[in-house]
Symmetry: C2
Subunit: 468 residues, 2 copies
């Protein structure tokens, strides 16, 4: 059986381990951090994730869908909170029953690692730093960071407290799932004709929490809460433990201007998010902002996703995106599924499967990246525009009449596995029709008005157009 | 006096050394390769460069302009070679006398290193590989590659043939001029909010040579020779030694399809560039293509150009561009001049000078990058379009009437030091006027035709518009 080396035991790395475990390959996963299951507190990434169709399909393929979905909180609509702190508007995500699931990142990660580890052919190496890869040799260099303290024998050197030996490991396939700051990708920056871009948006984010109220959810739990305020916005997602994870997104300049000291930040929250302010509590807001700096948001594209005959980038290592479409994890999970399907097609030909993966997947990754960027406009602003709401209603109405033919953009992204690039093609086609439809309505209105006016004029026996 | 550490002794690194030598700073330059002055053959980059106003101004500031310009071959116009191999069209670059200068890269580099080394405060360390920088410490790590073979003393280990010691060096300012594949920049990829993109265009290039004919230039020497053929193109620049450096640019797919074996490549040249084919000679073409693979072309942008309080990227390390505007070196040289002017403004405040440099220079670097990309369209195709030629003539004509106000785009880029971003603003303003001018001409024509027709109709005593 071939050997696959996976860099990173985060969400995509762990899921990939499950996929290759099923396939019976020898699987070695190298992860910089300690085993997440043994850690008291996990630093870093956001706690909340919204699992949707693509992610579910991938989990289904490794037999984890039902278990994971049951651990989450379903969300059926957006609930937009107005500035008065009292009124809302509700925007269903899809048809009745269609929903996304709020999931805890850490729990999901733990479940997948445990699942993969059940197979004897899978081995996780925690506290192993991946340094770089060698395309020609098809090898990866890792450095063990595990602290080994042995009692020295007489005449031996004092106990080693850190074993920082580097090893070079060869595999039939190396998959880098080591995230947005991928060391593997960085070591490939000079690979011939490798296109790459990383862009930080002007916005950063800070995470806060709303605790349960009398042991119950302090807000309606089965919705995605949204406080859109133009160039900044607040969101809240429910957790299984009845807390909410609340995130504020704003330009760094805004954080500096309005949230750099306790008085300012409290005023800012009280004024812009009065209901959330009450639930978060002034102490929690003040405390969080005194401890935590706004975190940056990166958008990252590259092409191809494979290198030589045996190296592949997946997940954030290939396409970290801004979080505004809730597709980062879903796209990463779908990566694993897409590659698994391709491997089924070319089971004996890894080089061919890699080429095919890049051919198919790069354009989809670029597309969802762009959609995620665009969706920020929607989240922070458009959701309150009449034209946006009208279009949303129009899409929903047509979808009810032609459920197979007319699927709203959000639904195609979230509730289907239509390739992202195809999603955008479909949307362009829909836009064309909507624009024609608008023209027809306008023309009909004008023709109608003229007809009525002419008829009225005729009855009054005056020349029809002179009146205007 | 402060110490500046320069990574790279290529064109921009060597010129920077001259600038800081003049300033009296302590200058240390670390260069991966051997001293170019001691090498028989220099591998890598293209031989030919076109020096224009920005580059000249920078050389002027270090007292090298006259000497360098005299070592080059002036070019006053483009000479477009048609496919019949016999006819040409000539497009002057600017006003009479305005010209660019074809310069030999190696010679230029050597002259600048020697010039900088004249100052006792300047030290070049060749065969020193720059590994990375540390922003917080303001230090750079270099590895000496110099081969040292000593006779071992009794009891000593055998002779070291390679001294690969790493040193960490601190300076008040670190300038990375280590090119498109900059190791310094690579070590800064995870610097917070560093935006970066690298894109390889679909075209590659191969360099060839035309030898002198009876000891004279085989083609007219004071022009830039151009064989535009749609999606591929050939250019030739004269060298002081009466040879021409000839470069073919084509998509990699085209190279594979039409130039992958001797028969094909000879047919391709004979058919598309019959006159160049004769001068290059079939043996030289066949030999070159059997030895050399097409080289890729990268376009690279980043922002900011400075990091922390003491690190700066310049030249290709900050903005490698495709070569189609002949501005790569000129922009890099102007970088040195721009920074020198800013340092004069803030002589005691390096951190401030760096921020100011990024503020001023990033947008200009982005602009010339885009212009260079756009100019490929022009070189390979547009030069043969009537509308393009008309606009060029119109620009020249207006420039003659209003030499200070109406400067053609190419002239602003090539013969002025107007910041690149301002160049594009000016061009937009010109385009607006041209478009209005077109409208006026169209309207006048229509009005004229109607007036004439009406007059004719009046004379014939029939209602004027019924005729149409």
């Amino acid at each position: 059986m071939p050997t696959v080396i996976i860099a990173g035991a985060g969400l995509v790395g762990a899921l990939n381990a499950c996929f290759f475990a099923q396939r019976g390959w020898n699987v070695q996963v190298y992860e910089y951090r300690k085993d997440i299951r043994t850690m008291a507190h996990v630093q870093g990434r956001s706690i909340n994730l919204a699992l949707s169709q693509r992610g579910k399909s991938a989990l289904e393929a490794v037999g984890l869908r039902e278990y994971i979905v049951n651990q989450g909180v379903p969300m059926y609509a957006r609930l937009v909170h107005n500035k008065d702190g009292k009124t809302y508007s509700r925007q269903p995500y899809g048809r009745p029953g269609e929903h996304i699931v709020s999931i805890n990142r850490r729990h999901l990660n733990e479940v997948m690692i445990t699942q993969a580890e059940k197979c004897p052919n899978v081995k996780f190496f925690f506290e192993h730093k991946v340094k770089n890869v060698d395309v020609d040799k098809g090898s990866i260099t890792v450095q063990s960071l595990a602290k080994v303290s042995r009692i020295p024998r007489p005449g031996q050197s004092p106990p080693r407290t850190e074993d920082t030996t580097e090893q070079t490991i060869q595999g039939d396939l190396i998959i880098a799932c080591d995230g947005a700051y991928s060391a593997v990708r960085r070591s490939l920056m000079t690979f011939p004709r490798f296109n790459y871009s990383q862009e930080y948006i002007e916005h950063g984010y800070v995470e806060l929490n709303i605790l349960p109220k009398s042991d119950e959810f302090a807000l309606e739990e089965n919705v995605f809460h949204l406080w859109p305020r133009g160039h900044f916005t607040l969101i809240a997602l429910a957790n299984k433990d009845k807390t909410f994870t609340v995130t504020i997104f704003a330009p760094f300049a805004e954080f500096e201007k309005h949230m750099s000291n306790t008085t300012d930040v409290l005023n800012f929250f009280r004024e812009n998010f009065p209901d959330a302010y009450e639930l978060l509590g002034r102490d929690h807001i003040a405390d969080t902002f005194s401890r935590v700096k706004p975190q940056p948001l990166i958008s990252l594209k590259c092409a191809p996703h494979h290198f030589g005959d045996n190296i592949l980038l997946m997940g954030d290592a290939a396409h970290a995106m801004v979080p505004f479409y809730g597709q980062g994890m879903n796209c990463g999970f779908e990566d694993c599924l897409v590659y698994s399907d391709i491997l089924n097609q070319y089971p004996m030909d890894i080089p061919r499967s890699l080429k095919e993966y890049s051919r198919v997947r790069v354009k989809d990754a670029h597309t969802i990246n762009d959609l995620a960027m665009y969706n920020y406009e929607e989240l922070r602003d458009l959701v309150n525009h009449t034209s946006y709401k009208l279009r949303k209603k129009f899409d929903m109405w047509l979808n009810r009449i032609m459920p197979e033919t007319w699927i709203p953009l959000y639904s195609m992204v979230t509730f289907s596995r239509i390739p992202y690039s195809k999603v955008v093609e479909n949307r362009r086609w829909q836009d064309k029709i909507v624009s024609r439809f608008n023209k027809i309505i306008c023309t009909s209105t004008v023709v109608g008005v003229i007809a009525v006016a002419s008829f009225a004029a005729y009855r009054q026996k005056i020349p029809p157009f002179n009146k205007f």
